[in-house]
Symmetry: C2
Subunit: 469 residues, 2 copies
């Protein structure tokens, strides 16, 4: 009998035993990769960068080929939040890249082909990435280089490849201008070679590894965050007996506080009233930002800065190049507050406007503090619900998950954010301010399917939700 895609995803998510590579052995494997690797990242002066420079008229930081990405300026006007107008640097990389995972059904379980990948900005040098990370320049071979490994499984119509998931998802709205990537999972039915630095893991193992700091990279997290698991019947089909509140919230389509249509109405209302005008301006004309020989920074040293680095990276063969990276002013914090309503866990979702958003607003975690400082008195505004996150015990709240996870190491310099899932008790009011709404995981999955609903921070948190205990 043909099982559904959801069945196979769910079964893999509930499988922790991997006869090819146990989670324990994977940790050794990854440690060895890390030990065998060169990862020298040196901040340098902008003038030392090769092939990168500031455009004479605009001051934009560009690659001489016009490819890859550039650091430009935007001027933002909005009626949302406390600040009506500002300008800022932003990463412009308008092409859509691939974040792709190959899976294979081995003895009835779906295994994910994961890659130990070095990126210049990585904490830990090596993190676990999807099978394929490729920009359009990569995969269209605009600049000659090696074809990315396994690209052919994603580019061509092949009889031995079945697409299991294929979604266009957004990147960081405060850092990227309308950037999106194609998040894709395929199943390969033919024999496939496992190349150096690649390994097979179950989805359950990947989720298990999300309990560690900075092991699973951002690209992996966004791809797996969109995976659908079906409904309660799907669970019965697996024959696996598991009782978990998260699993219930994933599979139960009937006991949500709001209907999908009510949530759409709530989003529509906010999109109709929110105004966001973003104009691209020359980097050298943005207000309140300064530049010296080695940094572009905000005058109060807030938000983030842009630096140049020299990267010397590799194991057998060492590659060396220079490039800009974005460096955060401090560690951020993202957290979902979760509450049992009608017997099902509901996530408190926030509607949030960010300057680089493709469609004005996206759904964000309950608390998202990345570019500002959330500590009391350190900022001009107060962050709603922050007390539940900073002092859970004092607020009768339980920390279900707390780790540090990294932003993408190809663009961000050692940026990590604290990822938290916090369950609140009966005393937490089910009535919430108008920019917040309760949703089950099942509902969130419905919205993720369609474009640009859940922002990357919320997807990062969702990827960490473990379905088995």
């Amino acid at each position: 009998m043909n099982k559904t895609v959801e069945y196979h995803f769910l079964k893999s998510a509930l499988t922790l035993d991997n006869p090819f590579l146990s989670t324990e052995n994977f940790i050794d494997w990854l440690a060895k990769k890390k030990a065998s690797v060169n990862h020298n990242i040196t901040p340098i002066q902008f003038s030392e960068m090769k092939n990168w420079g500031f455009n004479e008229s605009t001051g934009n930081l560009e690659h001489q080929s016009g490819k890859f990405f550039s650091i430009e300026g935007i001027k933002v006007k909005t009626n949302w939040g406390n600040v009506a107008e500002w300008s800022q640097p932003i990463i412009n990389q308008s092409e859509v890249g691939f974040l792709g995972i190959i899976t294979k059904n081995i003895d009835g379980v779906l295994y994910f082909l994961m890659q130990a990948k070095i990126e210049p900005g990585n904490i830990n040098a090596v993190q676990l990435s999807p099978t394929l990370q490729a920009t359009k320049s990569n995969y269209t071979q605009v600049h000659k280089g090696n074809t990315p490994l396994y690209l052919e499984y994603f580019m061509e119509d092949r009889a031995d490849v079945k697409v299991l998931l294929d979604q266009l998802q957004s990147e960081q709205g405060a850092r990227f201008l309308k950037k999106r990537n194609r998040n894709i999972i395929v199943e390969v039915t033919s024999d496939i070679e496992v190349k150096d630095d690649f390994c097979w893991l179950t989805l359950g193992q990947i989720k298990e590894l999300l309990a560690f700091d900075n092991v699973i990279n951002m690209d992996t997290r966004t791809v797996i965050s969109g995976i659908p698991y079906g409904n309660l019947n799907t669970l019965n089909e697996t024959g696996i007996s598991v009782q978990s509140d998260f699993l219930q919230s994933e599979l139960d389509a009937n006991n949500s506080l709001h209907s999908i249509e009510s949530i759409i109405s709530w989003i529509t209302k906010h999109k109709a009233f929110a105004e966001l005008e973003v104009n691209q301006i020359p980097l050298n004309s943005i207000k309140d930002w300064m530049k010296d020989d080695e940094t572009i920074y905000h005058k109060d040293h807030k938000y983030f800065s842009v630096i140049g680095v020299r990267a010397e990276i590799g194991n057998r063969e060492v590659h060396s190049w220079t490039q800009p990276l974005v460096k955060s002013a401090q560690e951020g914090l993202i957290a979902f507050i979760i509450k049992k309503i009608n017997g099902v866990l509901h996530f408190l979702v926030q509607v949030k406007l960010e300057s680089g958003n493709f469609d004005i607003i996206e759904l964000a975690p309950t608390v998202q503090c990345l570019t500002g400082n959330y500590r009391k008195g350190k900022n001009e505004y107060e962050v709603a619900f922050i007390d539940y996150v900073l002092n859970p015990e004092a607020n009768n709240a339980k920390v279900l998950y707390a780790t540090f996870q990294s932003e993408e190491g190809g663009r961000f310099f050692k940026e990590q954010n604290k990822n938290m899932l916090i369950e609140v008790g009966d005393d937490f009011d089910v009535n919430v301010p108008d920019k917040y709404i309760w949703m089950t995981l099942n509902q969130i999955k419905t919205f993720i399917k369609f474009n640009n609903y859940l922002n990357i921070q919320s997807r990062s948190l969702l990827s960490a939700v473990k379905l088995c205990r």
Copy 2:
């Protein structure tokens, strides 16, 4: 027992008997409205327009308040289709307006409060519009004027108002720059006054009236196009016995050729590869367009032109003003080709890039020829499937629906397009080119729920689908 929203929509769609106003009497009523109305629209020179003028530096056609809308220029670059680069005038009206319908449950049937509305560009002077059509300038009272009638039912949280549908939907992508409106249907439970020029109709009656040319305006068509009707159980609940292929396609969620996920993957692929770069430029710098005292037009008199008109409109009280309108170069043609697959009608949907699209591409009818000429030898390109539309009999195809329907009379001068639904036979190949895909009505309704999937031309056609015979 509480019936679902879908139940009430479906029941209204299947109800043609209206004790308050039969369809026959409605036609008399509308004819009387038309007869009693002044509708003098005179093309004038641009210099005769009051409060409208060309910006001295950009040449943009603007209202002196900076409100309403403006005619500006855009420069377009794309890798889609035959033409890689062009510039054109476009309507810029970035604010989100309301297109709202009030409904009321009277004796178990949902009635829609419709308005006989005069617009300057209307063919027939008066067409049937939603209860409320309001721009943001209207409803936020930026320019003092009368508050639009019934606005209060849409603006405030009220105990006597329930939101039944609330979607952000796109306008014409080749004419408007990323314009969207809030399409909203509410149910009012308190007594409500039926003001002059308003009447109650069932959804079935509105669909019946779509068999006439230019009676139901574009705004009504887009709002009702998104209405969901549930599934086959919903039909059983109504107790109404009806057998219709369209109804089957609306309610059957199980016999589609492709899954929703496959269709999302197909859309994702096209969005990932399609490139659309749109830059706003001064109207006086667009190439191949000319301006004389009374028209902005393409040098070959193709596509559309911009004219100025004086409008004298009203019944008891006559209002007079001047404004620009967009005038199409010829009548357009939009058509869905429909085929029974797995026993269910499937619509042949096209993925289409238009310059003003919010998200690069939207789903369009099989044939959409608005700005070009579809007649053989009259254009540089050939339109796929056009033969089935122009010569259905010769191609073993059956015309299920054919009327002329208008574009919005507040912006477009007597623009009408032929709307057609064409059923093809078994000999029509189920395999179609990569930019086309077969979808059931049930699937199309799923996509309409979420933002910016179905373009306004496809929604216009979908509104005309009759569920009863």
